[in-house]
Symmetry: C2
Subunit: 137 residues, 2 copies
DNA sequence: CAAATGAATAGTAACCGTTACGATTTGTTG
DNA sequence: CAACAAATCGTAACGGTTACTATTCATTTG
Protein backbone atom coordinates (compact mmCIF):
# COMPACT_ATOMS: atom_id res chain seq x y z
CA UNK A 1 0.00 0.00 0.00
CA UNK A 2 1.25 3.49 -0.85
CA UNK A 3 1.24 6.50 1.46
CA UNK A 4 -1.35 8.17 -0.77
CA UNK A 5 -3.74 5.23 -0.46
CA UNK A 6 -3.31 5.23 3.30
CA UNK A 7 -4.08 8.95 3.55
CA UNK A 8 -7.09 8.56 1.28
CA UNK A 9 -8.52 5.86 3.58
CA UNK A 10 -7.81 7.97 6.66
CA UNK A 11 -9.46 11.11 5.30
CA UNK A 12 -12.44 9.10 4.07
CA UNK A 13 -12.95 8.15 7.71
CA UNK A 14 -12.45 11.69 9.04
CA UNK A 15 -9.12 11.05 10.66
CA UNK A 16 -6.88 14.07 10.96
CA UNK A 17 -3.49 14.51 9.37
CA UNK A 18 -1.07 14.74 12.27
CA UNK A 19 2.70 14.74 12.47
CA UNK A 20 2.69 11.46 14.40
CA UNK A 21 0.59 9.70 11.78
CA UNK A 22 2.83 11.01 9.02
CA UNK A 23 5.96 9.71 10.73
CA UNK A 24 4.28 6.38 11.49
CA UNK A 25 3.12 5.79 7.94
CA UNK A 26 6.46 6.81 6.44
CA UNK A 27 8.19 4.38 8.77
CA UNK A 28 5.96 1.50 7.68
CA UNK A 29 6.23 2.46 4.00
CA UNK A 30 10.02 2.33 4.29
CA UNK A 31 10.22 -0.99 6.18
CA UNK A 32 8.79 -3.95 4.34
CA UNK A 33 8.55 -6.29 7.32
CA UNK A 34 6.70 -7.08 10.56
CA UNK A 35 7.69 -4.82 13.44
CA UNK A 36 6.66 -4.88 17.09
CA UNK A 37 4.86 -1.98 18.75
CA UNK A 38 8.01 -1.37 20.80
CA UNK A 39 10.23 -1.16 17.70
CA UNK A 40 7.83 1.41 16.29
CA UNK A 41 7.77 3.32 19.55
CA UNK A 42 11.57 3.42 19.77
CA UNK A 43 11.77 4.81 16.25
CA UNK A 44 9.10 7.42 16.94
CA UNK A 45 10.86 8.46 20.14
CA UNK A 46 13.90 9.57 18.11
CA UNK A 47 12.36 12.82 16.93
CA UNK A 48 9.66 12.92 19.61
CA UNK A 49 11.15 11.60 22.88
CA UNK A 50 7.98 12.30 24.87
CA UNK A 51 5.61 10.38 22.60
CA UNK A 52 2.91 8.54 24.52
CA UNK A 53 2.19 4.82 24.47
CA UNK A 54 -1.40 5.79 23.95
CA UNK A 55 -0.54 7.50 20.68
CA UNK A 56 1.39 4.52 19.35
CA UNK A 57 -1.08 1.82 20.27
CA UNK A 58 -4.18 3.81 19.34
CA UNK A 59 -2.85 4.66 15.89
CA UNK A 60 -1.61 1.14 15.25
CA UNK A 61 -5.04 -0.18 16.18
CA UNK A 62 -6.74 2.40 13.96
CA UNK A 63 -4.51 1.61 10.97
CA UNK A 64 -5.07 -2.08 11.51
CA UNK A 65 -8.86 -1.69 11.59
CA UNK A 66 -8.77 0.35 8.40
CA UNK A 67 -6.65 -2.38 6.77
CA UNK A 68 -3.78 0.05 6.25
CA UNK A 69 -1.59 -2.26 8.31
CA UNK A 70 -1.54 -6.03 8.66
CA UNK A 71 -1.26 -7.39 12.17
CA UNK A 72 -0.03 -10.66 13.62
CA UNK A 73 1.17 -11.96 16.93
CA UNK A 74 4.74 -13.25 17.15
CA UNK A 75 6.14 -14.56 20.44
CA UNK A 76 3.39 -12.92 22.44
CA UNK A 77 3.91 -9.46 20.93
CA UNK A 78 1.77 -7.69 18.38
CA UNK A 79 3.56 -7.01 15.12
CA UNK A 80 2.53 -4.77 12.26
CA UNK A 81 3.48 -4.21 8.65
CA UNK A 82 2.14 -2.19 5.75
CA UNK A 83 -0.73 -3.98 4.03
CA UNK A 84 0.76 -5.91 1.11
CA UNK A 85 -2.04 -5.75 -1.37
CA UNK A 86 -5.56 -5.20 -0.16
CA UNK A 87 -7.10 -6.91 -3.18
CA UNK A 88 -5.74 -10.42 -2.74
CA UNK A 89 -6.11 -12.70 0.26
CA UNK A 90 -2.71 -14.15 1.07
CA UNK A 91 -0.46 -15.62 3.75
CA UNK A 92 3.14 -15.12 4.79
CA UNK A 93 6.43 -16.75 5.30
CA UNK A 94 7.97 -14.70 8.14
CA UNK A 95 11.70 -14.61 8.79
CA UNK A 96 12.26 -15.11 12.53
CA UNK A 97 15.59 -13.29 12.24
CA UNK A 98 14.77 -10.05 10.41
CA UNK A 99 10.97 -10.03 10.26
CA UNK A 100 10.84 -9.77 6.47
CA UNK A 101 8.02 -11.61 4.78
CA UNK A 102 7.32 -13.44 1.56
CA UNK A 103 3.78 -13.78 0.36
CA UNK A 104 2.30 -17.22 -0.14
CA UNK A 105 -0.37 -17.28 -2.79
CA UNK A 106 -1.81 -20.65 -1.82
CA UNK A 107 -4.57 -20.57 0.79
CA UNK A 108 -5.28 -23.89 2.50
CA UNK A 109 -8.85 -22.99 3.35
CA UNK A 110 -10.13 -23.93 -0.11
CA UNK A 111 -9.29 -27.55 0.56
CA UNK A 112 -10.35 -27.61 4.18
CA UNK A 113 -13.79 -26.00 4.26
CA UNK A 114 -15.70 -29.07 3.09
CA UNK A 115 -14.09 -30.99 5.96
CA UNK A 116 -15.95 -28.59 8.29
CA UNK A 117 -19.62 -28.80 7.39
CA UNK A 118 -21.69 -27.90 10.44
CA UNK A 119 -19.00 -25.54 11.69
CA UNK A 120 -19.10 -21.77 11.31
CA UNK A 121 -15.69 -20.64 10.13
CA UNK A 122 -14.88 -17.07 11.18
CA UNK A 123 -11.19 -16.84 10.43
CA UNK A 124 -7.92 -18.66 10.06
CA UNK A 125 -4.21 -18.16 10.51
CA UNK A 126 -1.60 -19.70 8.29
CA UNK A 127 1.96 -18.58 8.81
CA UNK A 128 5.31 -20.16 8.02
CA UNK A 129 8.33 -19.34 10.13
CA UNK A 130 12.01 -19.72 9.37
CA UNK A 131 15.02 -17.97 7.89
CA UNK A 132 15.02 -16.00 4.64
CA UNK A 133 17.85 -16.52 2.10
CA UNK A 134 19.70 -13.45 3.41
CA UNK A 135 19.56 -14.48 7.08
CA UNK A 136 20.63 -18.10 6.39
CA UNK A 137 24.13 -16.98 5.42
CA UNK B 1 -3.13 -39.14 25.20
CA UNK B 2 -4.02 -41.22 28.26
CA UNK B 3 -2.94 -40.54 31.83
CA UNK B 4 -0.82 -43.68 31.78
CA UNK B 5 1.10 -42.53 28.71
CA UNK B 6 1.69 -39.15 30.31
CA UNK B 7 3.06 -40.69 33.49
CA UNK B 8 5.26 -43.05 31.51
CA UNK B 9 6.80 -40.10 29.67
CA UNK B 10 7.26 -38.19 32.92
CA UNK B 11 8.95 -41.08 34.76
CA UNK B 12 11.17 -41.78 31.74
CA UNK B 13 12.46 -38.26 32.20
CA UNK B 14 12.87 -38.59 35.98
CA UNK B 15 10.02 -36.30 36.90
CA UNK B 16 8.46 -36.95 40.26
CA UNK B 17 4.88 -37.97 40.88
CA UNK B 18 3.37 -35.08 42.83
CA UNK B 19 -0.15 -34.24 43.85
CA UNK B 20 -0.15 -31.11 41.72
CA UNK B 21 0.89 -32.99 38.59
CA UNK B 22 -1.77 -35.62 39.23
CA UNK B 23 -4.49 -33.00 39.54
CA UNK B 24 -3.21 -31.16 36.48
CA UNK B 25 -3.13 -34.21 34.26
CA UNK B 26 -6.54 -35.39 35.40
CA UNK B 27 -7.93 -31.97 34.59
CA UNK B 28 -6.54 -32.04 31.07
CA UNK B 29 -7.63 -35.62 30.53
CA UNK B 30 -11.17 -34.65 31.48
CA UNK B 31 -11.34 -31.51 29.33
CA UNK B 32 -10.92 -32.05 25.62
CA UNK B 33 -10.23 -28.44 24.67
CA UNK B 34 -7.75 -25.59 24.81
CA UNK B 35 -7.60 -23.87 28.21
CA UNK B 36 -5.65 -20.83 29.35
CA UNK B 37 -3.07 -20.96 32.11
CA UNK B 38 -5.45 -18.90 34.25
CA UNK B 39 -8.35 -21.31 33.75
CA UNK B 40 -6.06 -24.10 34.87
CA UNK B 41 -4.83 -22.09 37.83
CA UNK B 42 -8.36 -21.27 38.97
CA UNK B 43 -9.28 -24.95 38.87
CA UNK B 44 -6.17 -25.96 40.77
CA UNK B 45 -6.82 -23.29 43.39
CA UNK B 46 -10.09 -25.01 44.33
CA UNK B 47 -8.44 -27.77 46.36
CA UNK B 48 -5.15 -25.92 46.84
CA UNK B 49 -5.88 -22.21 47.33
CA UNK B 50 -2.23 -21.32 47.94
CA UNK B 51 -0.89 -22.89 44.75
CA UNK B 52 1.91 -20.88 43.21
CA UNK B 53 2.02 -19.43 39.71
CA UNK B 54 5.45 -20.96 39.50
CA UNK B 55 4.01 -24.43 39.92
CA UNK B 56 1.36 -23.92 37.26
CA UNK B 57 3.55 -22.36 34.61
CA UNK B 58 6.55 -24.61 35.21
CA UNK B 59 4.50 -27.76 34.92
CA UNK B 60 2.60 -26.57 31.88
CA UNK B 61 5.92 -25.75 30.21
CA UNK B 62 7.34 -29.14 31.18
CA UNK B 63 4.32 -31.01 29.86
CA UNK B 64 4.44 -29.01 26.67
CA UNK B 65 8.13 -29.76 26.10
CA UNK B 66 7.49 -33.45 26.66
CA UNK B 67 4.63 -33.31 24.13
CA UNK B 68 2.14 -34.35 26.77
CA UNK B 69 0.25 -31.13 26.11
CA UNK B 70 -0.24 -29.13 22.94
CA UNK B 71 0.22 -25.40 23.20
CA UNK B 72 -1.06 -22.45 21.20
CA UNK B 73 -1.51 -18.75 21.66
CA UNK B 74 -5.05 -17.38 21.49
CA UNK B 75 -5.70 -13.65 21.98
CA UNK B 76 -2.31 -13.12 23.55
CA UNK B 77 -2.68 -15.88 26.13
CA UNK B 78 -1.07 -19.29 26.15
CA UNK B 79 -3.54 -22.14 25.91
CA UNK B 80 -3.00 -25.83 26.49
CA UNK B 81 -4.76 -29.09 25.79
CA UNK B 82 -3.95 -32.76 26.08
CA UNK B 83 -1.94 -33.99 23.10
CA UNK B 84 -4.38 -35.43 20.56
CA UNK B 85 -2.27 -38.14 19.00
CA UNK B 86 1.49 -37.82 19.14
CA UNK B 87 2.01 -39.97 16.03
CA UNK B 88 0.29 -37.79 13.43
CA UNK B 89 1.05 -34.21 12.55
CA UNK B 90 -2.22 -32.30 12.43
CA UNK B 91 -3.93 -28.94 12.77
CA UNK B 92 -7.03 -27.67 14.52
CA UNK B 93 -10.31 -25.96 14.11
CA UNK B 94 -10.74 -24.13 17.43
CA UNK B 95 -14.13 -22.97 18.70
CA UNK B 96 -13.79 -19.38 19.88
CA UNK B 97 -16.75 -19.91 22.21
CA UNK B 98 -15.94 -23.08 24.14
CA UNK B 99 -12.35 -23.82 23.14
CA UNK B 100 -13.15 -27.30 21.83
CA UNK B 101 -11.17 -28.45 18.83
CA UNK B 102 -11.59 -30.57 15.75
CA UNK B 103 -8.55 -32.07 14.11
CA UNK B 104 -7.78 -31.21 10.50
CA UNK B 105 -5.90 -33.94 8.74
CA UNK B 106 -4.81 -31.85 5.78
CA UNK B 107 -1.50 -30.00 6.21
CA UNK B 108 -0.92 -27.14 3.77
CA UNK B 109 2.86 -27.33 4.01
CA UNK B 110 3.07 -30.16 1.47
CA UNK B 111 1.87 -27.83 -1.25
CA UNK B 112 3.76 -24.77 -0.11
CA UNK B 113 7.33 -25.95 0.48
CA UNK B 114 8.37 -25.92 -3.18
CA UNK B 115 7.25 -22.29 -3.32
CA UNK B 116 9.98 -21.59 -0.75
CA UNK B 117 13.24 -22.85 -2.23
CA UNK B 118 16.11 -20.86 -0.74
CA UNK B 119 14.24 -20.44 2.52
CA UNK B 120 14.85 -22.45 5.67
CA UNK B 121 11.46 -23.45 7.05
CA UNK B 122 11.50 -24.01 10.82
CA UNK B 123 7.83 -24.19 11.66
CA UNK B 124 4.34 -23.21 10.74
CA UNK B 125 0.98 -22.45 12.28
CA UNK B 126 -2.32 -23.30 10.70
CA UNK B 127 -5.42 -22.78 12.78
CA UNK B 128 -9.06 -22.25 11.90
CA UNK B 129 -11.28 -20.25 14.22
CA UNK B 130 -15.06 -20.17 14.49
CA UNK B 131 -18.04 -21.75 16.19
CA UNK B 132 -18.54 -25.48 16.63
CA UNK B 133 -21.97 -27.04 15.86
CA UNK B 134 -22.95 -26.94 19.54
CA UNK B 135 -22.04 -23.28 20.05
CA UNK B 136 -23.79 -22.11 16.87
CA UNK B 137 -27.20 -22.92 18.34
C1' DC C 1 -8.78 34.88 9.53
C1' DA C 2 -9.96 34.15 14.27
C1' DA C 3 -12.68 31.67 17.49
C1' DA C 4 -14.80 27.39 18.58
C1' DT C 5 -14.88 22.52 19.02
C1' DG C 6 -13.89 17.98 18.95
C1' DA C 7 -10.00 14.95 17.86
C1' DA C 8 -5.36 13.77 19.10
C1' DT C 9 -1.66 13.68 22.22
C1' DA C 10 1.32 13.82 26.57
C1' DG C 11 2.38 12.18 30.84
C1' DT C 12 1.68 8.83 33.85
C1' DA C 13 -0.21 5.04 36.39
C1' DA C 14 -2.64 0.79 36.40
C1' DC C 15 -3.41 -3.73 34.56
C1' DC C 16 -2.65 -8.54 33.53
C1' DG C 17 -0.32 -12.60 32.09
C1' DT C 18 3.94 -14.31 32.97
C1' DT C 19 8.55 -14.97 35.00
C1' DA C 20 11.79 -15.06 38.76
C1' DC C 21 13.68 -16.17 43.22
C1' DG C 22 14.94 -17.39 48.11
C1' DA C 23 13.03 -20.18 51.60
C1' DT C 24 10.72 -24.38 52.61
C1' DT C 25 8.66 -28.85 51.81
C1' DT C 26 8.32 -33.15 49.45
C1' DG C 27 9.43 -37.41 46.69
C1' DT C 28 12.85 -40.70 45.79
C1' DT C 29 17.08 -43.24 46.28
C1' DG C 30 20.62 -45.82 48.76
C1' DC D 1 15.13 -43.60 57.53
C1' DA D 2 18.61 -40.33 56.25
C1' DA D 3 20.06 -37.39 52.67
C1' DC D 4 19.69 -34.98 48.62
C1' DA D 5 17.71 -33.12 44.78
C1' DA D 6 13.38 -31.86 42.93
C1' DA D 7 9.21 -29.43 43.56
C1' DT D 8 6.56 -26.02 45.67
C1' DC D 9 5.24 -21.73 48.15
C1' DG D 10 4.81 -16.93 48.77
C1' DT D 11 5.69 -12.99 46.82
C1' DA D 12 7.65 -9.51 44.01
C1' DA D 13 9.16 -7.93 39.65
C1' DC D 14 8.73 -7.64 34.72
C1' DG D 15 7.14 -6.30 30.06
C1' DG D 16 3.70 -5.34 26.86
C1' DT D 17 -0.51 -3.14 26.77
C1' DT D 18 -4.42 -0.34 28.26
C1' DA D 19 -6.56 3.54 30.56
C1' DC D 20 -7.24 8.20 32.14
C1' DT D 21 -7.10 13.40 32.73
C1' DA D 22 -5.31 17.57 31.29
C1' DT D 23 -3.53 19.88 27.48
C1' DT D 24 -2.53 20.79 22.62
C1' DC D 25 -3.71 20.71 17.95
C1' DA D 26 -6.24 20.33 13.32
C1' DT D 27 -10.20 21.53 11.17
C1' DT D 28 -14.62 23.88 10.65
C1' DT D 29 -17.39 27.81 10.59
C1' DG D 30 -18.93 32.53 11.23
Amino acid sequence: MTLDEAWRILSEHQFKRTKNRETLLEYFAAHDKYMSAMEVRNFMAQDNPGISYDTIYRNLATFSELKILEETELNGERHFRMQCDAKNHHHHFICTECGKTRSISHCPMEIVTDELSGYEVEGHKFEIYGKCPICIT
